[in-house]
Symmetry: C2
Subunit: 255 residues, 2 copies
């Protein structure tokens, strides 16, 4: 495999959940955001909210960035140009999630290149009401994800990923056989078990509906973990639709 | 601003639409994908389709990557774990678009660090039927975006971006005044005009509904360009919903 400083930085990525109290300088923050800004956006329909309130930030991180989908700014500009936005909100979200995610990933890599660590907070879209209130968000701004950031006070291993041949397909999507699936599962499960990841975090996704726990930290690993999430959580879109609606996005229209 | 090889690579990003015929080696391709794989995913719910059919690829690029949201693989794994996926499809998309976008952005940066150029093809979600057929995609795989990739045969300037203070907000989302909006618009419009970007591309978004063209390439720029897109295109979600539905995603459920 080819190596250079950029590739090395990416391959060395891992989430950091313990931070030193030292706050990055404003110069460092601006560098990270500026690097993020150059991502290949469709329409720059994102905004960043920054909190340096270390006491209140998740993981007591010196920085929390909230990455938002932002159509408020776009619509202000369109108004100056005498245009109204007519695109449907599902399409707005489809493009907005991409713009916000490109920004987020660039920021993660830029931050790590400067010696900082980061952690995504995946449950952001279900906490938008409180975030909107805290940051006084106007309508048409939707908090998509948050990134905790600061200098790492831990140095975990990089986490396993699927085998490359379970991810990259040339010309045709394959029909997976038992062996392919088993190999991908083993790579993930044995990789996380070798790091004792879930035991160290003391967390298993709780079982609902009277299902009995049959796993211990000796065999509970990644594929069981994500299966429990996708097999139990968020069966109805109602909560997400409500959060979207409160932020001024209606994807029910014409459906 | 702080500088290192990673930051420099990011700040130097621009889309490339003309490529040398030389195809990157499989080692280069694998390096780029492997670097992409280490992004901070929620559940690795993505797949990559690769075409090296230069003649048929957009911009005749040596490589086209189609980045898909992929719940097919996840559900195969869940089945082995005796779980059914219950999460609603809107939530699936919300997380899937993020995973696919993080992968895509890492690949762009990795590729550029190795001297390659890239261009996103934003209209992918409205062409999923043909893509699904071409690559024989199973249900629950949705082509989100495509990246053309190869060694650049052009060297354009980096494109302008909003002023940092129109993007990053500490503690509170601001109330923009006329000056803020004007400054952001001027940064974008004068930046693109200085590069003669739209004249060189010979393209203005056509006006619909009998609107009269009042712009020439002397004053047509970015804010007018995106206003026309968001002000005219995709008023109804029907087409996108249909594409999603054909790929096995139903976000109408319970709505």
């Amino acid at each position: 495999m080819k190596k250079n400083q950029v590739i090395k930085t990416m391959l060395n990525h891992k989430s950091i959940r313990r931070f030193k109290p030292k706050s990055p300088t404003m110069e460092t923050i601006r560098t990270i955001v500026r690097a993020g800004q150059q991502a290949p956006f469709s329409s720059q329909v994102y905004s960043l909210l920054l909190s340096r309130n270390q006491k209140r930030n998740p993981f007591k991180a010196p920085l929390t960035f909230t990455i938002c989908i932002d159509f408020h700014k776009l619509q202000l500009i369109m108004k100056k140009r005498k245009w109204d936005l007519v695109s449907n909100d599902l399409f707005c979200l489809l493009m907005g999630i991409q713009d916000a995610s490109l920004m987020a990933e660039n920021m993660v890599i830029a931050a790590e290149s400067l010696g900082l660590g980061t952690c995504f907070l995946g449950n952001t879209p279900l906490r938008t009401t409180e975030i909107a209130k805290e940051y006084k968000l106007p309508k048409r701004v939707f908090p998509l994800t948050q990134i905790a950031m600061g200098y790492p006070a831990e140095n975990p291993s990089t986490r396993p990923r699927y085998p490359l041949e379970f991810v990259l397909f040339e010309n045709e999507y394959p029909k997976f056989n038992e062996k392919d699936i088993k190999k991908a599962m083993e790579r993930m499960d044995q990789g996380y078990l070798a790091q004792d990841y879930y035991r160290k975090s003391s967390y298993r996704v709780p079982l609902e509906k009277g299902r009995k726990e049959k796993f211990t930290f000796d065999n509970y690993s990644w594929t069981e973990h994500i299966s429990r999430k996708w097999g139990q959580w968020n069966p109805s879109p109602e909560k997400l639709l409500e959060q979207l609606s409160k932020c001024g996005f209606s994807i029910k229209k014409k459906m």
